[in-house]
Amino acid sequence: MRYNVRFSVLAVAVSILFMISLLIGRYSLWSHDLLYDELGKNIVWNIRLPRTLTAVLLGMALSVSGAALQSAFRNPLVGPGVIGVNQGAAFGAAFAILFLSNYPLTIEISSTLFGLLALFMAYAMSSAIKYGRRVLRLVLAGLAVSALFSGGVGVMKCLADPLKQLPELTFWLLGGLSGVVWRDFLYVLPLSLGGIIVLLIARWRVNLLTLEDDVVLSLGTDPGKLRALVVIAAVVATSVVTSVAGVIGWVGLIVPHIARKIFGTDSSRVILASALLGAALMITFDSIARTASAGEIPLGIVTSLLGAPLFIFLLSRKEMGTSG
């Protein structure tokens, strides 16, 4: 099947999943005529639509960032989590909930700043590491930064008021979109969409980062500047959605691999396909999270429970998409 056809099929699938997710839930709207159901209209407009749109944004941001970062670090096993960004953003959000205010914009700004801080710390630490090549050093530094902020989040939990703050913090850390309203969506939309758009329009040039830096220079592109653009766009997009959805693992790692299996290696196709696949997967996971049981299952748990086996399944298949 030609790539254009595959993209069209995927876009139609995302649209169908989007519509289905608006109709299903504890108050099912399958058999309702929305024109005459005021309650149904209210639920769709005020609860499900902002939530599903946020799921789309979340899936796109994590997946597009994951695909771009894998090329930028020449490592198919890199995701926003590996270079410390997820935990940095999580720490930032926890810090805001505890010490600033749980106003969404405050959490978003704190989360983004700490996500970027984590990245800069990883960069700074990587130059001090005397083992391996530059990209490996950055990944190692990212692991250390991740552990550091993970410890910081642990401290926040100890400091949190066990009755007021701790439940909120714990549920937020498990990740989820319950309670997301239009205000949350509109707060995260500009920055996360901005990051996604930068990665989408630079998606072909991201290919160059998979080459050695000397070769990239000889092709007239400064690999340092291109990598910085890609990484900052990815970190901003990821941190911003993390501020509203909590820590959502696996998606940023798995989706680019599925995209490579269907669309080949060229990052101009992989990044675009990751956006669509990420949206589809996140709508599906969130729909499962809110409909599978009587209570809401945190989205982070659903992505881990379904993402980990899916990852192993992909790894166990021949021609995984990358040899690395």
Partner: protein
């Protein structure tokens, strides 16, 4: 046609106490193939990277058509000069066509996608190199010789005036060596300025119009192969006894039967 000249170039790697290039001066005439001949570690690759502005020398200047290299923007330079590295890690399973399209990056806008015209140039380049069938093969599955041809094809896709190749025949069998050397000769004949490094004097003799002998970061001598490839010079750079014969007027080198003795005592 483009001429390159380097003048008193000194280069030292960061955190090193030794100059790799010790004030080198050399000229690469337009439309000619120039070989940089020297032993392993003599500074050949460093010199090539300096030529391409990948490394910036602490002293000295590189002139491209008498214009200082620093006056060129990087993307302007990449349309003028292309680089074929000796080895390249390929971690992602691109098809050859996707991989070669990256060679078109200097001719594309920062946020543009490759066009049909770019694809046409790649197809034409692969045909000219005699490997049009490789287009849809995965780069990771290619043999050493095929990979080297693909690296050369990517450089040619840049449509450069100057082609810079680092040990282009290293680790190749004789058939692939002959193929790569004939491409170098063809490029020079078509008016491109070609610079390539090698540690094999016979390759330099067979293909190059000029040979620059590099020893310990300095230019030992420079000129046409029959003038500079001599037993004295080779003994200095390789620290082994070598015999130079003339075949069809070109110097051909073989190891002397007692050449090992010098090596052992040196």
């Amino acid at each position: 046609m483009v001429k390159i000249r380097i003048e008193k170039v000194r280069y030292r790697y960061p955190n090193s106490k030794i100059d790799v290039l010790k004030g080198m001066s050399l000229e690469f005439p337009e439309g000619k193939a120039t070989a940089l001949l020297g032993a392993n570690g003599s500074g050949k690759t460093t010199l090539l990277k300096v030529l391409l502005k990948i490394l910036i020398p602490q002293e000295g200047t590189i002139y491209v058509d008498e214009k200082g290299i620093n006056e060129f923007k990087r993307d302007d330079l990449s349309r003028l000069m292309a680089w074929v590295p000796q080895e390249e890690d390929s971690l992602f399973p691109y098809t050859v066509l996707e991989y070669l399209l990256m060679g078109r990056a200097p001719h594309m806008g920062f946020f543009s996608l490759p066009t049909k015209k770019d694809e046409g140039i790649i197809t034409k380049t692969l045909s000219e190199l005699g490997v049009p069938h490789l287009s849809y093969r995965e780069i990771l599955g290619l043999s050493g010789g095929e990979k080297r041809l693909v690296f050369i094809a990517r450089a040619l896709a840049q449509e450069p005036e100057v082609l810079v190749l680092d040990e282009p025949t290293a680790h190749l069998d004789l058939g692939n060596k002959a193929k790569v050397l004939s491409i170098i000769r063809r490029m020079a004949n078509s008016g491109k300025t070609v610079v390539f490094s090698t540690h094999d004097p016979n390759e330099a003799s067979l293909v190059a119009d000029n040979v620059g002998i590099i020893n310990g970061g300095e230019i030992l001598s420079c000129g046409i192969p029959s003038m500079v490839i001599t037993e004295d010079v080779l003994e200095t750079i390789y620290r082994a006894r070598l015999i130079v014969n003339k075949v069809n007027g070109k110097p051909m080198v073989e190891l002397a039967s007692d050449g090992f003795k010098i090596n052992q005592h040196s």
